[in-house]
Amino acid sequence: MDSMSTGTCINAKTLCLEDFTCSTSFLFLETCFPFTVSATQKPENQEDCLKAAQQLQNNSLSTCRCLWRMKNQDNCLAIYWTIHSPYGFGHYDLGGSPYKEIVINKPWKFNHLDLLESGSVSQSSPDLCLKSTTLCTLNDKCNKLRLAYGEVCSVARCQPLKCQQELRVFFEQVADHYAQALLFCPCDDGDDACGARRRNTFAPSCASPTRDPHNCLMLWNMCLQDLLCRSRLADFQMHCIHMDPLVTCVGTQLHRCLKAYMGLIGTVMTPNYISNLSTEVAVGCSCRGSGNQLEECKHIQDSFSRNPCLTKAIKTQMQFYHQRLSKSSPPAISQE
């Protein structure tokens, strides 16, 4: 078992299976939640599932997590949700995030930025979104991963599922600051071309066509059926909504919220800017036909379009990149 998965749920499960009482509870729990391929039937009595879960409370399984870029992430997430599903606070509160806290602010630098600034690669329009696209093209890995999703998302060859998958690969493998430069590049007020590039750079017309938008509750249910989407949604809920009930939006929490926001891109709950000229974001769904669950539906919409911390995080990130990408930018600084 590779080093990445020590301390993750994969490791915790291996230890558990070596212990008789632990493995009986865990294997029973696996039948409660059809996340693992092997689980077929579902016990009628949910009570036994809760008892089995409670027996594992002091086991390392109930505090294990997964890592963003680990190998066989799906297995790890399946184990996490097998343990955590009994404890939900109702359908619309997913509890904690399966992803382990990550140290974020490693100092980074755009290579070739000097090349761009020296003007040797002629830059006709100073539009910073085009500039961040160029920076990605000049970086081998970013260019390769961007072309990979670009091809399966482009017009006349769009394959929505493959497009979503390649988008996820892009965000999981490219260095964060390149992905964020593309996603949160600042545009001058009224610069429609820049805003249009920013809004289409992740091929929404292919990845999440919103011809007749789903009801948000249906979209939520679809996401919960998918292991990865459920995990990214729980991460977003935890780091962009629950972590700050008094809505203070303080310090590093902003950056972690952006990481969670980016984690949703490429799932059915892919958010995007609402227009070329706005930095407000929303997920593509409507609340028509919600019946008595209009409040829950509106809550899903508001967690993207009326989320003060998310809005502040995006604005802060744009100011940062404005400073980093504009001509007179100081030498590389680690980003707090």
Binding site: S62, D93, R288, G289, S290
Partner: protein
């Protein structure tokens, strides 16, 4: 019984004394006489629900719903709880309050019979009263929102006082009220500071009350006012029977030329003032059945139900409702001989609605008219040039109303009435039920003795074998001139006007290809190309004749590679091209590039 909120919240400082009241939960009755008993979940939770902790600190009064501190929460206790929070600082403690007498499973907490309590933990002791700002005496930042079921008995659903802060600072004088409450179905009691309903509510009259709560705090002579939103959502009950908007429950449906499966013949609407069942549950709850035992009707007709949320105006505010469309649709293509009229009844049942009138009847008066295959009483005459190449499209024949027909399988045939000269063929275009006459044998045209042709044109419906005939006379014009030697068989191969107009190709009417000069603006639909006939190619449609042979119009029919700046047609062909598009049908390949791109000069390779 149901909670008036799905989440209650309050602030929690460290070392607040035992017995400190935290908040009241409120339950409203579904039926008079119901008495609520509140029970607290055994565990309290942090961010990670899988790490519940035994609840030693909080208690609830079973009858009044008052949540209070049973044991003071000190620094050590806080650290113990934080240890189980996955490494995050403990910001929130979650509790669960149950209503129903029989204990629900603890992990299954959701409205209406279980409410979440969110205590925002502040890692300091309670600040002195004097240091608190007026706002902190009045309201919390987490905001208020309430749920009241329509048609249920009125009751108390909120009390304004922030219990902990007013318990520790009793001499603060404070008052609350709802703005404009005189005209509202709610009122606030000055003494108990509770908010009550004057009477039960009707969602179909108003479903959202966007109220404002006003708090006034006096500190000595200074008076401070704080206002916050106080939204109340009225929850729906299926208490309105479905009805016919403007009373129409009958529609006529005539089937004539449009006999294709999927054709919508008529639509009837049913209005329902309720929004439950929601669009997810409607397929299960809103049932419709065709009241017929006639196998023909069941085989050839179906009813499609599509519910859409709508809204109407009710004294100044919008109220959501549902509009159900019932479409009568052809389930299979109807034979042209079929002739029949009947009334089809459809029963619509809102199974969720318990009262009378939950079942409605729709009626479709259906008339199926037979349709005849008949040529207009004219005989067709066309002309063809002796130099026309094979597949030149000479003209179209069409039975009466052919443009109207859908789902009817008409085919056209030719029978030659002239002995020494028969050069034409005919192909049917299914969508527009027309017959395309084209040159099929050019050798005949080149014989001097062949000066004209006469044909019998027969249109027949494959299913009913019904037929109609007419005659078509063709005059042969022009003198034959042998073609330029070495010309390609497809006009599309040529890349320049000169090459194009000196050659013929399959599909040419006069023996010479025609050059289309494009607008030369980037990748454009109007690209330059060489075509057998500007009328039919390229027009974005690989028609019945062109699809016979790729050499005729590869621009519209190519499925293979298109090299250079282009946009592919949705199924086939070149939708847009850059500069000149020319094709090599035998290689199934087309090129689009500006004409100035002559072959590169003989670069140094030649030395």
């Amino acid at each position: 019984l149901y909670f008036s909120r799905d989440t209650y919240s309050e602030k929690l400082y460290i070392d607040e004394p035992v017995g400190t009241p935290l908040l009241y939960v409120h339950a409203l009755q579904d039926a008079r006489g119901e008495v609520p008993h509140f029970r607290l979940g055994q565990h309290l939770y942090s961010t990670y629900r899988s790490q519940p902790h035994k609840n030693d600190w909080f208690q609830i009064n079973e009858d009044t719903g008052l949540l209070y501190l049973n044991q003071s929460l000190d620094q050590r206790a806080l650290e113990k709880l934080s240890a189980r929070n996955g490494g995050f600082p403990l910001l929130t403690i979650y509790l669960q309050v149950f209503l129903s007498p029989k204990p629900l499973r603890e992990s299954d907490c959701h409205w209406p019979s279980c409410a979440k309590v969110m205590l925002s933990v502040i890692n300091t002791t309670m600040p002195a009263c004097s240091s608190l700002k007026p706002r902190e005496f009045c309201f919390l930042e987490t905001g208020l929102s309430f749920r009241i079921r329509e048609n249920k008995p009125p009751g108390t659903f909120h009390q304004f006082r922030l219990l902990p802060v007013q318990h520790l600072c009793p001499n603060i004088s404070i008052s609350y009220q709802l703005l404009g409450e005189e005209a509202l179905p709610f009122y606030s009691d000055k003494d108990t500071m509770e908010v009550n309903m004057r009477h039960s509510l009707d969602r179909e009259e108003k479903e959202k009350y966007e109220l404002i709560a006003k708090c006034t705090v006096w500190e000595g002579l200074r008076e401070e006012v704080v206002m916050v939103p106080f939204p109340v959502t009225v929850y729906d009950e299926d208490d309105s029977p479905p009805n016919f908007p403007n009373g129409i429950n009958t529609a006529n449906a005539v089937v004539e030329y449009k006999r294709k499966e999927g054709t919508v013949l008529a639509v009837l609407q049913v209005f329902d003032a309720d929004v439950v069942p929601s669009s997810v549950d409607i397929p299960r709850k809103y049932i419709h059945t065709m009241l017929t035992s006639d196998p023909l009707v069941n085989e050839f007709f179906r009813v499609e139900h599509s519910p859409n949320e709508t809204s109407y105006n009710s004294n100044g505010s919008r109220v959501r409702a549902m509009m159900h469309d019932y479409k009568l649709v052809l389930n299979r293509s109807l034979p042209i001989t079929e002739s029949h009229s009947f009334q089809l009844g459809v029963l619509v049942n809102d199974t969720d609605y318990q009262g009378p009138g939950g079942v409605l009847h729709l009626y479709f008066n259906v008339t199926i008219l037979p349709v005849s295959i008949r040529f207009p009483n004219i005989s067709y005459s066309f002309s063809v040039n002796r130099n026309a190449h094979r597949y030149a499209q000479i003209g179209k024949v069409c039975i009466e109303n052919c443009k109207e027909f859908h789902g009817v399988n008409i085919t056209y045939k030719l029978q030659s009435l002239s002995v020494n000269c028969t050069a034409l063929g005919i192909i049917t275009t299914p969508e527009s039920t027309t017959g395309n006459l084209f040159v099929n044998d050019t050798s005949m045209l080149q014989r001097p003795e062949c000066t004209g042709m006469k044909y019998l044109v027969i249109a027949s419906d494959r299913q009913s074998k019904k037929q109609s005939r007419t005659t078509s006379t063709i005059s042969v014009e022009g003198n034959f001139f042998p073609e330029e030697e070495g010309c390609p068989i497809s006009c599309a191969v040529n890349k320049r006007r000169s090459e194009c107009e000196e050659c013929g190709g399959l599909g040419t009417l006069m023996g010479t290809c025609q050059w289309r000069q494009g607008d030369g603006k980037g990748i454009s639909k109007n690209y330059s190309t060489c075509t057998p006939s500007l009328k039919t190619c390229p027009d974005g449609n690989c028609d019945a004749v062109e699809s016979r042979d790729l050499h005729i119009c590869p621009q519209d029919c190519i499925r293979g590679d298109i090299i250079g700046g282009h946009e592919r047609g949705e199924w086939r062909g070149i939708k847009a091209g850059y500069g000149v598009c020319n094709c090599f049908p035998e290689k199934k390949k087309c090129f689009c590039e500006p004409d100035d791109d002559k072959e590169p000069l003989c670069d140094e390779v030649c030395r």
